[in-house]
């Protein structure tokens, strides 16, 4: 395994999970799969389509997203929105992300908690 490969694996591990957080934040404003993909990519969360589409369904099954079909436009699209339950899970996840960041900063600066 080359050093590029090692780095890629570690970055992937680090990024895993942030897609869920980013999706829950982005879907406070309802959106459909492809548009969400574009928005996430635009905000620096590159995500594969074949990961995101199944992920949205899974989050919906878990009750973190709600969905609604929009048939007004040229083709019917399924719009997802972060549910109340999703919002509360998101709060916890964001708190944890902040805690990780704080701990990391503390560790870097050598300050005991």
């Amino acid at each position: 395994m080359g050093s590029d490969e090692i780095l890629r694996t570690h970055l992937q591990e680090l990024r895993r999970g942030t897609v869920v957080v980013a999706s829950l934040i982005a879907l406070r404003e309802p959106d459909y799969g492809y548009a969400l993909l574009q928005r996430l990519t635009g905000h620096g969360f590159p995500v594969d389509a074949n990961t995101l589409y199944p992920l949205l369904r899974r989050l919906e099954d878990q009750g973190l997203l709600t969905s609604e079909w929009n048939t007004q436009e040229s083709r019917p699209r399924k719009f997802y929105r972060t549910s109340d339950q999703g919002e509360s899970v998101l709060g916890t996840l964001l708190d944890d992300l902040a805690a990780v960041q704080t701990s990391m900063t503390g560790l870097i600066e050598g300050v005991d908690r």
Binding site: R75, R77, K78
Partner: protein
Amino acid sequence: MSSLTDRYLAATLGSVPAARRDEIASELRGSIEDMIEGKVADGHAAATAEREVLTEMGDPAVLAARYANRRLQLIGPAYYLIWLRLLKLLLAFVPAVVGIVAGLVELADGARAGDAIGEGIGTAIEVAVQVAFWVTLTFAVLERTNTPLNLPAWSVDRLPEHTSGERQSRLADCVASVGVLALLVAYLPVQHFRSFVTTTDGANLPILDPALWTFWLPYLMVVLVLTAGLEIAKYRAGGWTWPLVGVNAVLNVAFAVPVVWLLLRDRLLNPDFVARFEWLSQPAHLDRVATIAVVVTIVIAVWDVVASVSSCRRRR
């Protein structure tokens, strides 16, 4: 609608739960069309955009597995180690025991030694393949049904002893015990065909009542095979543990009680075999033999259980 996308959808949806197929189909189709439009808007050639998008989406089987939340592994980390241990444990003795028995039966049937060995090895390989297949199948099903095994968690107490000398002597113990048990298992069918006792006209006389083959003799063979498994489990655990002591007690009872019962009812020995010997065929003498055999059986069983209990206690 172009046929590539249709084919992609068909390939993906085939293995997605039927209840959600239609909805996933419309959503996925819309998403793919959105992506193609996006590509074209970005200046890609319309002719190749569809191919590019579908390439990006990747293998339909992988996508379907993600939609269905299906695992892309036969046996995952939750079951792998238990699967491996069980497989090693069973392969350590089951093929060998069955192979030896098959070879001996062949030999007793009058086959030449070479043929009997060939039969034994062939049977052992066949049994090994069967064991591996069924154990793996069972665990693959467990993996897919997500069945909790509720096994006791690992604890420091399960660390194997380190003294290599002791370990070696335990290995020797284990091999000797399993060997004796294998001989015992093999003896039951062998005595049926070649007991070295013959009728007056030279035919072979089984020592044990052939009527017992309908249930009791196969049953005793199974108990003996399980006892051999217990010896191996004991070796792997580094000696007696309380669960193993419990299993040992159960197996001893499972062996001794039927044997004693059969002896007391005069059902263990072949009546023709008894009739062959004048001394044995007298009821008083036969009773005496039965009584001695009963006492020996009970003493061996009790001694074995007591020894395992005291050995386990010393280890703690």
